[in-house]
């Protein structure tokens, strides 16, 4: 299919996105594509290949973009590949030209390209580019690299580049790489050992185990990492027994094996991970992270019992997983930490109440932390009262608001309580009664909580029925609110919408004032 035949099919198939302009657009594209095909065919692009052949860094590279674009068309891909291969074979193209050619060949290379790619494997300036093409050529690519690695090679860079490319095939390359994993060259042996870890063939396992036992320190380190990687690949492909065998070669406290050990025995995973958290040390971190999705109150007796005496690190990890579980039974265990001297622990104790605290007593403690305005506690307490969904939280806020607490009233408004919104606006209105100057705190809460959805109702305070000072303040709040959006089109649109949906006369002087300030006259 030509480049834009698919576009026509796309329009037919995806009927729900069919705009007239898109169809016109595609028709233009089809015409353009047809003309470019003709142009390409006519010139036969002799110039392009000459440019390629003589290309050096710093020269014009338009040949690259021409060939790259044209090679997208299946009708030209093979001929472009053939011409590029021919040019590389016949002429002395620069290394950089070869690298650029490989970028074009990568999606289109066939067995035609193999000779030039194979010969590039022993050239440090070209091996990486050649491997980048071979890595996508399946059996052909794999065989080419195996052939290269099966012969004696002296350049370490070329060897390593080829080994890592072969490892990504994860197929027949184990024996080939294995011989390098036991090389006397430590750098090469280390490199090849890591590469074996990426391969899931069982043949890799005994070599890794041997290297772990007998290798130099660097090789042993590489083998340990590779064994974990091998075990993970085996587990992912359903081979738990090979995974276990690989892990059994490693010390029980090897940090990289923690998560997989838990996965291999899910029934005992919670116990295992909790035992690591309780013990403390460097395994707390991976154990705590692995516990994220596993925390179950009914399987947490041990850690609950140990909780009060855990180290800071362990306590935080435990609390994190308690919070994530969403199980409110965990909060009484966390609650004593509301009085912790440690800021991190105390902060988390407050914050986790947002998710799992439903009891009044603790919520009132957190309210006190909010009122005291001691940072950072008050910030986390604010999160709690803004979003804790429990009945107890709402009850506390309603009680406080009824007793005149403006902080509580503000939270209720933020939480979507329409009665609280009415109460707030009534207070706002009353604060300007009898020619008073308003109440700063109340005005501030009104401003902070006002939404675009409220605006059509709020605008009523601009009417002549209301005190001038109230209307003035209202106008300023509206201006600030609309200006915040920083989008001229939207500001104009929103202002018109607001004016439409209320009974304030269109010639109200404050409308003019607002429009002037917002520059939307």
């Amino acid at each position: 299919m030509l480049l834009n035949d698919f576009a026509i099919e796309h329009i037919r198939h995806h009927g729900n996105y069919r705009h007239k302009t898109e169809e016109v657009f595609f028709m233009k594209h089809i015409t353009k594509a047809f003309l470019s095909v003709c142009a390409f065919a006519i010139t036969s692009h002799a110039d392009v290949y000459d440019d390629f052949a003589s290309y050096e860094i710093g020269k014009d590279n338009s040949w690259f973009f021409t060939l790259k674009t044209e090679s997208q068309k299946p009708v030209f891909a093979k001929s472009i590949e053939a011409r590029l291969v021919q040019t590389i074979t016949d002429k002395k193209v620069s290394d950089y030209a070869f690298v650029c050619a490989c970028k074009i060949l990568k999606p289109i290379a066939t067995e035609l390209s193999l000779p030039i790619l194979k010969s590039a494997l022993s050239n440090p300036a070209r091996v990486s580019a050649a491997c980048d093409v071979l890595v996508g050529m399946e059996d052909d690519g794999e065989d080419a690299i195996i052939e290269f690695l099966s012969k004696p090679q002296s350049d370490l860079y070329c060897l390593q580049t080829a080994i890592s490319t072969l490892a990504s095939f994860d197929d027949d390359g184990v024996k080939t790489i294995a011989k390098y994993a036991t090389s006397k060259d430590e750098k090469l042996a280390t490199f090849a050992t890591i590469a074996l870890g990426s391969m899931s063939e069982d043949d890799a396992l005994p070599i890794l185990q041997m290297n772990l036992k007998n290798g130099t320190p660097d090789v042993k380190k590489a083998a340990a990492r590779a064994l974990v990687a091998f075990a993970e690949n085996a587990y992912a492909s359903g081979d738990k027994s090979s995974a276990r065998e690989a892990l059994n070669s490693l010390p029980v406290d090897y940090p990289l094996a923690v998560v997989l050990r838990a996965k291999l025995d899910e029934k005992k995973a919670c116990d295992y991970l909790d035992s690591l958290i309780i013990k403390g040390g460097e395994l707390v971190a991976p154990a705590g992270r692995a516990m994220n999705s596993r925390r179950d109150f009914n399987k947490s007796a041990k850690i609950i019992a140990a909780f009060p005496t855990l180290s800071k690190e362990s306590k935080l990890a435990a609390m994190g997983s308690f919070m994530l579980s969403g199980d409110t039974r965990f909060y009484p265990i966390i609650a004593p930490e509301l009085g912790s001297e440690d800021s991190d622990i105390r902060s988390l104790a407050i914050y986790s109440a947002r998710f799992i605290c439903t009891d009044e007593a603790n919520l009132r403690k957190i309210w006190n932390a909010y009122i005291l305005k001691r940072k950072p506690d008050c910030d986390f307490a604010k999160n709690v009262f803004a979003e804790n969904p429990s009945f107890a939280c709402k009850k506390i806020l309603l009680e406080l608001a009824d007793n005149g607490d403006l902080n509580a009233l503000e939270f209720l408004v933020m939480r979507g309580d329409l009665n609280a919104l009415k109460t707030l606006w009534k207070k706002y209105e009353d604060s300007y009664a009898d020619d008073s100057n308003g109440d700063k705190r109340i005005t501030s809460i009104v401003e902070n909580t006002l939404t675009y959805g409220d605006m059509p109702m709020f605008v009523k305070y601009l009417a002549a029925d209301y005190p001038e000072k109230l209307s003035n303040t209202t106008a300023k709040i509206i201006i600030k609110k609309l200006a915040k959006s920083r989008d001229e089109k939207f500001i104009k649109f929103a202002f018109e919408e607001i004016k439409k949906t209320n009974k304030v006369p269109a010639d109200n002087k404050y409308y003019k004032f607002i429009a002037e300030k917002l520059k939307i006259l």
Binding site: H10, G136, L156, A167, R289
Partner: protein, 449 residues
């Protein structure tokens, strides 16, 4: 290479011995020693022994900004600075600030007594370092990220997650299997307007979503470049790392590398990591992906060192009949089209039609997204390091977003549609497209997958 300053620093800042040495010396001398309250962690300050120690790798513009954020967190102590660039000159051509970056600038910014390194492996070898912030070019992300987590470090990494889809899978698996915390620099999830937008969509206030339009900045037009001599103090070989070796020119580095496919997938991944990420979040596609990706428009350069498209438009078809269009010809931001209205969100603004939707008060009992406790994307990373909860742009999330971006890149590079199986994470029946999911690595680097 460990400098003299390094050893002095280690001697002074060894966490286990710090207080002991103060106390011991005061006893030996016989004076009553007054230890400042801040040292002991009083008055809300965090004692040095309790601080999370951080190594910063990559100190270009983004890396410097990221490190500044962590530097101002009292829970964090920067104990290592690493960059391949240790030059004095203004080598940073093409970026508007044209400011000196790298180690010279970092030392002036963060302190002359912090040890410096050229090779990140020396940073990772330090047992006293807890976490890493890495802001390096995309072609480094996977290999360096895997090295970091295998060394037992939690990581604040940059977006886009990786250069290829296969790297994304390898990095995701490595991070999860090592039990490490990973936060990607897709920080829009920590901005309130994006949280609000996602919650509005999730709770159905826009109705059924049919379409999303994402607008990104364009790739830049680039010129032909000559090779120039590598300046003394700049490790060009290390900068290239696993990428195919190429010639040096300063205009290829320091953000301009985003124009080169050897290092980056261009704006579609660079900014797609932000905006497609938000679309995924809002539509609950964090564990899913597109089914079909169709390039609608691509305009390629005809010359120059950048091989990214000058203009592009790609349409991606997701489950539930949702289309996501990504283009540099749309306004920068994310626009959701639903049966009850539209919502546009960007870094500057959020608005909707009807106007009330954009600021809907989401009830505590509705579906809520809780990205951060307080602070920002950077403090959120430290929160996760402490309590071991997955970060808001955790590795799995970042990988799915990045995969979407890279699929779009593959589609427009091939100039035709491709299909994707999000469950198996493979391109469907398309060996040619599958080739672009992987790449080879220059020695001595390899991807452990």
């Amino acid at each position: 290479m460990q400098t003299f300053e390094y050893w002095i620093f280690i001697l002074r800042m060894n966490r286990r011995n710090f207080l002991r040495s103060i106390t011991a010396s005061s006893v030996a001398i016989g004076f009553p020693t007054i230890i400042p309250a801040t040292v002991l962690g009083k008055n809300g300050k965090v004692a040095p022994s309790e601080r999370i120690t951080m190594g910063s790798i990559g100190l270009g513009t983004q890396g410097t900004a990221n490190t500044k954020n962590f530097f101002s967190d009292p829970r964090v102590q920067i104990v290592a600075l690493c960059d391949v660039n240790n030059t004095e000159g203004r080598q940073y051509y093409g970026y508007k600030n044209d400011t000196v970056r790298g180690l010279v600038n970092a030392r002036k910014t963060f302190g002359m007594d912090i040890p410096i390194y050229n090779d990140f492996r020396e940073v990772l070898a330090r047992k006293d370092i807890d976490v890493i912030t890495a802001a390096v070019p995309d072609h480094w992300h996977a290999i360096m990220g895997i090295e970091c987590v295998n060394a037992g470090k939690d990581v604040f990494g940059e977006k886009p997650l990786t250069r290829t889809i296969r790297e994304g899978k390898a990095l995701r698996d490595a991070v999860l299997n090592a039990g490490r915390i990973w936060q990607t620099g897709s920080w829009q999830r920590s901005l309130p307007q994006f949280v609000r937008a996602a919650e509005i969509v999730r709770n159905g206030y826009l109705g059924r979503i049919t379409r999303v339009e994402i607008g990104l900045p364009s790739n830049f037009k680039a010129e032909v470049l000559p090779a120039v001599e590598v300046p003394k103090g700049f490790d060009w070989q290390m900068w290239q790392g696993p990428a195919q070796p190429s010639f040096y020119n300063p205009r290829k580095t320091f953000t301009r590398w985003r124009g080169i496919t050897n290092y980056c997938a261009g704006k579609i991944a660079d900014w797609g990591a932000h905006h497609l990420d938000i679309a995924h979040w809002a539509l609950d596609f964090d564990n899913s992906g597109a089914e079909e990706i169709v390039p609608l428009h691509v305009q390629w350069p005809t010359n120059g060192f950048s091989d990214q498209p000058l203009k592009f438009k790609v349409c991606m078809y997701y489950p539930r009949g949702i289309e996501i269009e990504i283009s540099d010809m749309n306004p920068n931001g994310v626009k959701f089209f639903g049966t009850k209205g539209t919502l546009f969100v960007s870094r500057e603004t959020i608005h909707s039609n009807p106007i009330d939707i954009a600021e809907t008060r989401i009830l505590p009992t509705e579906s809520r997204l809780f990205p951060i406790r307080k602070g920002n994307h950077f403090t959120a990373f430290i929160d996760s390091v402490l309590d071991r909860r997955a970060a808001v742009t955790d590795i799995g999330i970042a990988h799915r977003t990045n995969t979407g971006c890279l699929l779009a890149e593959i589609a427009y590079r091939l100039g035709r549609p491709i299909k994707w199986d999000a469950k198996k994470e493979v391109i469907v029946d398309d060996d040619v497209a599958e080739r672009l999911c992987d790449r080879a690595y220059s020695a001595p680097w390899q991807l452990q997958a």
